[in-house]
């Protein structure tokens, strides 16, 4: 028997349903392709929050600002292609804030570490001690596993199913 695997994309996705005798806000039901499609390029929108931890969704389109974090972060590309560029930070350049990504004013003055070109299903290490930039020729979508930080955008009221209706 031949199986057909269903994936989603910015251009084509089906959203599920949430039918509960409960306050739907507790479940924060959203869809990453819908969130990415309705957000500005590189707006890091939280779709998951576990206390201080988040998963953000970004629509990668063009060149992002440069980011850095005081801990490892990880990206999973879910649609399109994203090239991640990395620059090594000196010890005194590594951000010292509590957590999450910060936006740098410009490409930092450090040696180029290289790049990773990733497509759907690829998971990429965004290592502590490196600044990174996302670049995409065409609109693409990535999930970022990180900590709630200065760049995390929260708009739960806009992205989540709030009332009992077809999602």
């Amino acid at each position: 028997m031949a199986y057909k695997t269903h994936t989603g994309s910015l251009d084509s996705y089906d959203k599920g349903v949430i039918e509960l005798d409960d306050d739907l806000r507790k479940y924060a039901f959203s869809n990453i392709f819908e969130v990415a499609g309705n957000s500005a390029p590189f707006e890091r929108v939280a779709v998951v929050q576990n206390l201080e931890y988040v998963a953000e969704v970004v629509r990668s389109e063009g060149e992002s600002p440069w980011y850095a974090a005081p801990h490892d972060e990880f990206a999973i590309v879910m649609d399109g292609e994203v090239t991640f560029h990395f620059v090594k930070l000196e010890d005194d350049q590594v951000p010292g804030h509590e957590g999450g990504a910060i936006r740098l004013g410009a490409k930092p003055n450090g040696p180029n570490m290289g790049r990773v070109r990733a497509r759907r299903g690829h998971q990429v290490l965004l290592p502590k001690g490196a600044a990174y930039q996302l670049v995409s020729d065409n609109p693409s979508v990535a999930i970022l596993q990180t900590v709630d930080g200065p760049e995390t955008v929260k708009k739960w009221d806009e992205i989540c199913v709030l009332k009992g209706e077809q999602a």
Partner: protein, 329 residues
């Protein structure tokens, strides 16, 4: 909460079926050709044996996981991270009203040993409860030839990220791990990593979908990446989650491919609250006051985000933390 010092004891062997019975504390476990039977001083319970074994091997492999693992609405375990409750009817309205609910607390190692002993005795060659039903035989019938391959597969757990030098490897063709039939239509390419001289090994990426697609087990997560205590687990899901999970903290699901239907119920009473159908790209929290069970009509890929902060369960249990994750504007 008193912790019993009991360990598993063999009670006897059924001459007809060949299966042995076991006792742990006040609980007795017996099986026949079709069913597992659990007895305790105030009552007894029957569970279809495939479901019982699928739940039991996962419960051990997960290290009792987070919170409550219901084998069905009546019987299950609660993880206290060092000790484990075995309960019968403790979270079921009917059993509680009838006064037949029962719970005992054991050292976690004692429960592991007991469940592993029972599983090894009750599982014969040709049946693997970690496989999808379409990919394995049946546990019904009398005892067959003993299995010699590993019954239990624990989490594949990365310390930092799968595939990094010195960390847990990803699944691979070279290791004999084939792409599952249900994902044979996907193309699996590798991310392109170009390191500048002097930075070799510092950049890293994997095909996560390839890793998930090569899993030979279902409803059995592997940890792919860790940001402090923010744990990314990935898993392939087919048929039904053979337990009902009641978490002791909030957790989050991101549906990576295909769809899963989740039945949601009140954690303490089991009263149904409704259902959620998640399709590729959907994100949903599982609050800390529910129990959930998933059904995947086709093998799918699921990402689970857990907060592994120590003692978090106590902060939820005390009410310090709310049982749902988001504060809205």
């Amino acid at each position: 909460m008193s912790v019993l010092e009991a360990t598993v004891q063999k009670v006897g062997t059924d001459e007809t079926t060949g299966y042995s019975s076991y006792q742990l504390g006040s609980f007795t476990f017996r099986r026949d050709e079709y069913f597992a039977h659990v007895s305790w001083p105030k009552g007894s319970h029957i569970i279809e044996v495939d479901r019982f074994l699928r739940a039991m091997v996962r419960d051990i492999g997960w290290g009792f996981f987070y919170g409550w693992i219901f084998f069905d609405d009546i019987f299950g375990t609660t993880n206290h991270y060092g000790t484990v409750d075995i309960f019968a009817g403790s979270y079921d309205d009917g059993c509680k009203k009838a006064g037949i609910d029962f719970l005992e607390t054991f050292k976690a190692e004692a429960v592991s040993e007991a469940f592993e002993t029972i599983s090894k005795d009750w599982i014969s060659e040709g049946y693997d409860p970690l496989n999808a039903p379409l990919e394995t035989g049946t546990p019904i019938g009398p005892k067959g030839k003993e299995r010699t391959d590993p019954l239990l597969r624990a989490f594949i757990a990365a310390e930092r990220m799968l595939g990094l030098e010195g960390d847990t490897p990803t699944r691979s063709e070279a290791a004999g791990q084939k792409i599952n039939r249900a994902f044979a239509d996907l193309e699996f390419d590798e991310p392109e990593i170009e390191c500048e001289e002097g930075f070799e090994g510092q950049l890293h990426a994997i095909n996560l979908f390839d890793h998930i697609a090569r899993s030979d087990v279902t409803w059995n997560p592997s940890i792919s990446a860790v940001t402090r205590a923010n744990i990314c687990c990935v898993t392939s899901e087919e048929h039904m989650l053979p337990v009902i999970h009641g978490n002791d903290r909030n957790e989050w699901f991101i549906q990576l491919t295909d769809e899963i239907h989740w039945n949601i119920a009140d954690k303490n009473t089991g009263n149904p609250r409704g259902r959620i159908v998640m399709k590729a790209g959907d994100v949903c929290a599982m609050p800390a006051d529910i129990r959930h069970q998933g059904f995947a009509p086709k093998r799918s890929m699921l990402m689970v985000l857990e907060n592994g902060t120590p003692d978090l369960e106590k902060r939820y249990a005390s009410g310090e933390l709310k049982p749902y994750p988001i504060d809205y504007a």
